[in-house]
Symmetry: C2
Subunit: 221 residues, 2 copies
């Protein structure tokens, strides 16, 4: 029921990004990512993309029918790569592995997705910025999340619930609480540098977050 791994997904995953692109095309691709992240999609002109990529403006439209087509070719694969661990066989081990304890599972998830986010900040910024304005994209995202990701995470949570390791709340509530705590940690970590003098002990904060989640979700004694 959740094994389809449709071909268009695979296509998107290795996809556009680097495979069968000419050098100029990938220069366009990279330049677009940079500028979209800097000033937003609407505020970015194709002429600026062309000049930063060092190509003629016409070249952009050889490879991408429209400006929006360029955006989609950037954002759609990024979306899939973000949730890849949940939909791909090769990565599914993260979920398949029988973690003995819930905190090990959470630590693994944080580790895994944090690497990805750190390496793809621009991509994620564009995705986050443009999702509200493109219903088609949003719908695609929603569908994948609900049909692929949600089910699998629910399975893991249910397993830990049965084992008596976490509290007996609705599974969706448990996920919401844990995810929001993790997301909060990631966001603060990402946008750090805002507060000048402050120190951020990453290891300590991460452990505090995991401990917080564990206490919050501990079964009532």
């Amino acid at each position: 029921m959740n094994e389809p791994l449709e071909p268009w997904m695979e296509e998107l995953l290795n996809g556009a990004s680097g495979n069968s692109m000419t050098e100029k095309q990938s220069r366009i691709f990279e330049a677009a990512i940079e500028i979209f992240a800097e000033k937003g999609y609407s505020a970015t002109s194709t002429s600026e993309i062309a000049s930063r990529a060092g190509v003629a403006e016409g070249t952009i439209f050889r490879h991408y029918k429209t400006k929006k087509d360029l955006l989609l070719s950037i954002v759609a694969p990024a979306m899939l790569r973000l949730i890849a661990p949940f939909v791909l066989r090769e990565f599914k081990d993260v979920l398949k592995t029988e973690y003995e304890s819930f905190d090990q599972f959470i630590a693994a998830m944080i580790e895994n997705r944090l690497d990805f986010l750190d390496k793809n900040k621009s991509l994620m910024k564009i995705l986050l910025q443009e999702l509200p304005f493109h219903p088609d994209l949003r719908e695609q995202f929603r569908k994948i999340i609900f049909s692929q990701v949600k089910e699998r995470v629910e399975k893991v949570v249910d397993r830990f619930k049965e084992k008596g390791q976490i509290i007996d709340l609705p599974t969706s509530t448990v996920i919401r609480l844990a995810v929001s705590s993790i997301a909060g940690y990631i966001m603060i970590r990402t946008f750090y540098g805002m507060e000048e003098g402050a120190v951020w002990d990453d290891e300590r904060e991460r452990q505090a977050t995991i401990d917080y989640i564990m206490r919050g979700l501990a079964p009532e004694k």
Copy 2:
């Protein structure tokens, strides 16, 4: 040290929104909020604002020097109103009141800001969307948060820490954990309707969130 309540704040708070505006100006103001929220600032043209407001395009520039000036006149007061409870005398009671228990305090905060957010969704969407692209706005926001809000919330948390009601973690960590849990609850609640068949028992979810925070921040026995 934190009592200044500078005059420009007061000015912004009653501010632009409805006081000394002609009818056409406030029609422009409202139309701009609508369209900015729908398609984003950059993708919105002044001609569209004019036509939705039912005025000539020139009228916009009678009241606002530039398009960006119009944006700022919307976003700056919204920013202040968002954090008003923390900077205004009249509202400071929320913080001044001696809540006996930490969960009462959190419940009050949620109640208070949720009302506001529900009534100002468009405003908040614009603020969230444009903050990353306007360093001046972001800096203003950052300054107020750190100089006004943070100090006051820290005081409250410290008080509960001294009373032994919450765990002995760095105050900023405690705030981060609680805020991210609350923000998660608010966001899911706000963007609901995404999942069709699902039911959202608001009272239950809110209480679950508060309980989760309380368990997560409970002092080690």
